[in-house]
């Protein structure tokens, strides 16, 4: 079995759920894998914490929940703090680099940490909302969970009108990821 579990977490408004959708859709529709995605919100009505879990596999996926992700994408301090311990041994932790003090919080030598300046990169590209796609690029580069082409196709599905920007963000993310691979 090649079950891979990726958790993306942050605040509402950061595009967390969209990132999860693009990733899972890429695997399920454009990469010949099985995939599923779940999401959950904090107690706040809107705009509080939120997270999405993506599972990919070569085989049909039975149990749909994640307990120890292979990869955590943390887009907020809160998300990092809440979930970093759940990441499995030798798992990958990708976090928003501007949250500088993150690595200080209990670095576990069994996990690989990658700070990605997703917000800054997205800002450079002219849209801070594209930080999520930067992150996805990094995930692709650092985990290989889906093929890059599948991700690109998935972005076209999800953003039929604004795909260029998002594709650029994805590519920049992949570059950033590869630098740390």
């Amino acid at each position: 079995m090649t079950r891979r579990e990726i958790r993306i977490a942050g605040f509402g408004g950061q595009g967390v759920i969209t990132a999860g959708y693009v990733l899972a859709n890429a695997a399920a529709i454009h990469d010949g894998q099985y995939a599923l995605m779940t999401q959950s919100y904090g107690p706040e009505a809107r705009g509080g914490s939120c997270k999405t879990d993506v599972i990919t596999s070569d085989e049909p996926i039975d149990y749909p929940k994640i307990s120890s992700p292979d990869c955590l994408v943390a887009m907020s301090i809160d998300a990092f703090a809440t979930f970093v311990d759940s990441v499995m041994d030798r798992g990958v932790v990708i976090y928003e680099d501007s949250l500088v003090d993150i690595p200080k919080k209990g670095v576990d030598p069994n996990k690989k940490y990658h700070g990605i300046p997703a917000v800054a990169t997205a800002n450079e590209l002219g849209n801070p909302l594209a930080a999520n796609m930067v992150m996805l690029g990094a995930v692709q580069a650092l985990t290989g969970v889906v093929r890059a082409e599948a991700l690109a196709a998935s972005i076209s599905d999800r953003f039929p009108r604004r795909k260029e920007l998002n594709l650029r963000a994805l590519r920049r993310g992949m570059e950033l990821g590869r630098l740390q691979a």
């Binding site: 942050g10 605040f11 950061q14 705009g47 907020s76 301090i77 809160d78």
Partner: protein
Amino acid sequence: MTKVASTLAKQRIKLIKQLCKGCGYCIEFCPNKVFEKSEEITERGVTPPRIKDPDRCTLCGLCTRLCPDFALTIEEDEGDG
């Protein structure tokens, strides 16, 4: 609070940052433009206001009432007492 109450105790506007959700109402609606946008992002991912000009505050209390998050309150100013 253990201090003896003093007539010198002065009231001032106080921001409870943990409660702020960054809606910006205080900045927009304070008649005396006491607040401004800050650059800070809190742990909860929001940008609270900054009390730019406390001395312009007339203690009218509008911001405390318009703040949906109970994040602004008028308190005895202990530091300057």
